[in-house]
């Protein structure tokens, strides 16, 4: 069953310098137990989409002029505030990039974990504390019992991110959104944290939306991929197929810029140019100023997300040629 489906989602920010169209018609879906990886350069709207799903957009300046976010078949955008609040944390949870700034510096981790149980399940402080210790054990924090009273700054980066994960898992939600959960960590602990997250996901059969820049991680844990560019999904596909044969020049550029062992020593490929300013997105295909395959039609006509195979889509006028190369 489809756990979450985002349909034609638009998000604008009304700023002093004009309207920033951060998300322009995003579609994606996740099933229970499935992992969707969201890729794309900085500013492509990955986090904003996640925040819209979570219901934590800054509104204002943010606005959702159009779109639906169906969670277990119900549109969350038409729910009451209170209904949505009850879903947050309990059914849909989020893991943020920087655990140090995302945890409250003046409250003990035990308090912050326990809050989930106290608020959503009405447990007493004591019961909540016991549950917090259990959770900390579960995410492999040594000496959880002694450390439950400690504050975020007293933990290492990896341990802090484990606490974030524990907090997200506290109420065994159906969907987890992890926004670059390992970017802020040391390379050595990145793999451990990612493994923990993947294990727990399997155990609870949760849907996972994993926002990341790390294409290596994606290949290991994701089932399918959505590639974002300038607030749109430009390609979506099952992981293996996408890696084998991308159907969009942007995806191809991303894949070519991964350092590979068999090409050691060679200069890395990089997509030329910079991502567009989101308040002045180019006409037609937003990628055309940087696209090596761009033709005249690309400058005037917006390519729709065309079906290019089973469960595959590409928003490129020349997806056939790209796929065939």
């Amino acid at each position: 069953m489809t756990l979450l489906e985002v349909r034609d989602l638009h998000v604008d920010f009304h700023t002093r310098d004009g309207i920033v169209k951060a998300v322009n018609g995003v579609n994606y879906s996740v099933d229970a137990g499935e992992t969707l990886a969201v890729l794309g350069e900085s500013g492509s709207g990955k986090s904003v989409t996640a925040q819209a799903i979570m219901g934590i957009l800054d509104m204002p300046p943010g606005r959702i002029p159009k779109g639906e976010i169906l969670f277990q078949g119900e549109d969350m955008l038409t729910m009451s505030k209170e209904q949505r609040r009850k879903l947050r944390g309990a059914k849909i949870a989020m893991i943020f990039q920087d655990a140090l700034s995302s945890l409250n510096p003046v409250l003990s981790v035990g308090y912050q974990l326990g809050e989930m149980f106290r608020v959503h399940q009405g447990l007493s402080r004591k019961e909540a504390r016991a549950k917090s210790i259990e959770l900390m054990d579960r995410v492999n924090i040594p000496a959880a019992k002694d450390r439950v009273r400690d504050y975020p700054h007293q933990f290492s980066g990896g341990m802090r991110q484990r606490i974030m994960i524990a907090m997200a898992l506290a109420l065994e939600p159906d969907l987890i959104i992890a926004d670059e959960p390992t970017t802020a960590l040391d390379v050595t602990v990145q793999a451990q944290v990612m493994e923990l997250l993947a294990d727990l996901q399997r155990e609870f059969n949760m849907g996972l939306i994993l926002i990341t820049h790390d294409l290596g991680v994606v290949a290991d844990v994701a089932d399918k991929i959505a590639v974002m560019y300038a607030g749109r999904i430009v390609e979506t596909a099952p992981v293996k197929e996408l890696y084998k044969a991308p159907a969009h020049p942007y995806t191809r550029g991303l894949l070519d810029s991964i350092p590979r062992l068999d090409q050691k020593g060679r200069e890395l490929y990089a997509i030329q140019g910079l991502p567009p300013n989101m308040s002045r997105v180019p006409e037609g295909c937003a990628f055309h100023p940087r696209c090596p395959a761009a033709q005249d039609i690309c400058r005037s006509e917006l390519p729709p997300l065309a079906e290019v195979g089973a469960g595959r889509g590409s928003a490129c006028h020349f997806w056939k040629e790209t796929l065939g190369d």
Partner: protein, 309 residues
């Protein structure tokens, strides 16, 4: 923690000696003579004056006088006023509680109203209400407190007749309300602005986003997560503010005729009663030191990242 408190208390000794000595010297070099003043306009017999000075120890060198004062102090003797023959301890015991009450009153008002206004404004940063609050606090900051005092006196006493223009009974809490508000004015404006900025800033912090993502009710996000973090800079400010409130009390007392230390200092200065001035000022310094110690300890309670050792 215990060691920290002990060290801070020990640090008060040199500050105490320094401040008493400083004021003692200032009184010494001030022109005028408390003994000569006893005779007023009349001419006095120089021999008589000299005799009295000798009796009071005022003919001794400065260091000796200071030594006598200190040793007296450690035996609980604050000295005696020359003209009235009243023990200085009595003068202080009568005036000090009045000022302390006025200050506490103003302090509580500053904290409660300042934090509340700041929170309300900060939660709606850049909206109309926030602008109004910012405007009025700016006004409060730019108007000298005695102007505010006279303005309130005019408005509430002469125009509206709600209160008497001056305080009749300095022991009565109710009568101290207006002076306390005037005294609090400046601090209130600062606390409001500080809280407002801090709230608006913390509202954008990542951990607030987390709190919302956890599905906590708005009340809890604001009351538990936002407020506690936002109060940290406010508490720091309040620590130093106790001193300025006590200093401000001296001015406010003058406007509303409150019989507190401001009044006592004024009279004592006029008559060059050195021991009275030194006693009162030293007490203010001590209250200030104790208050800032309490605030520092509170700071550590609010922010676990601070550890005193």
């Amino acid at each position: 923690m215990g060691r920290y408190v002990a060290r801070r208390l020990l640090q008060m000794i040199p500050v105490f000696i320094g401040s008493t000595l400083l004021i003692f010297c200032m009184m010494y070099v001030l022109p005028g003579d408390p003994v000569r003043a006893l005779w007023g306009e009349q001419s006095a017999d120089p021999a008589q004056i000299a005799a009295l000075k000798h009796q009071l120890g005022l003919d001794l060198p400065l260091w000796h006088q200071y030594w006598n004062y200190l040793t007296g102090l450690f035996q609980g003797d604050f000295g005696t006023q020359i003209a009235s023959q009243r023990p200085v301890a009595d003068v202080i015991a009568q005036a000090f509680p009045v000022t302390l009450r006025l200050t506490i009153f103003a302090f509580v008002f500053t904290v409660v109203a300042g934090v509340l206004l700041g929170l309300i404004a900060g939660l709606r940063a850049d909206k109309a209400l926030d602008r109004v609050v910012l405007f009025f606090t700016l006004l409060l900051i730019s108007v000298p407190s005695f102007v505010l005092g006279f303005l309130f006196q005019y408005l509430f006493a002469f125009k509206l007749g709600w209160v008497t223009p001056t305080v009749q009974d300095s022991e009565a809490w109710g009568q101290l309300l207006l002076p306390a508000i005037v005294l609090a004015g400046l601090s209130l404006a600062y606390v409001t602005r500080l809280t407002r900025t801090s709230v608006a800033e913390n509202l954008r912090a990542d951990y607030i986003r987390t709190a919302v993502a956890k599905g906590l009710p708005h009340r809890r996000v604001v009351g538990v997560h936002l407020l506690r973090n936002s109060l940290i800079p406010v508490v720091t400010f309040l620590g130093t503010d106790v001193g300025s409130l006590m200093a401000g009390a001296v001015v406010t007392e003058g406007i509303f005729n409150v019989q507190g230390i401001g009044n006592a200092i004024f009279e004592a200065l006029n008559r060059r009663e050195g021991s009275t001035v030194v006693g009162i000022v030293t007490l203010i310094v001590i209250v200030y030191l104790v208050a800032s110690l309490i605030v520092d300890l509170l700071y550590a309670v609010l922010d676990p990242r601070i550890r005193y050792a």
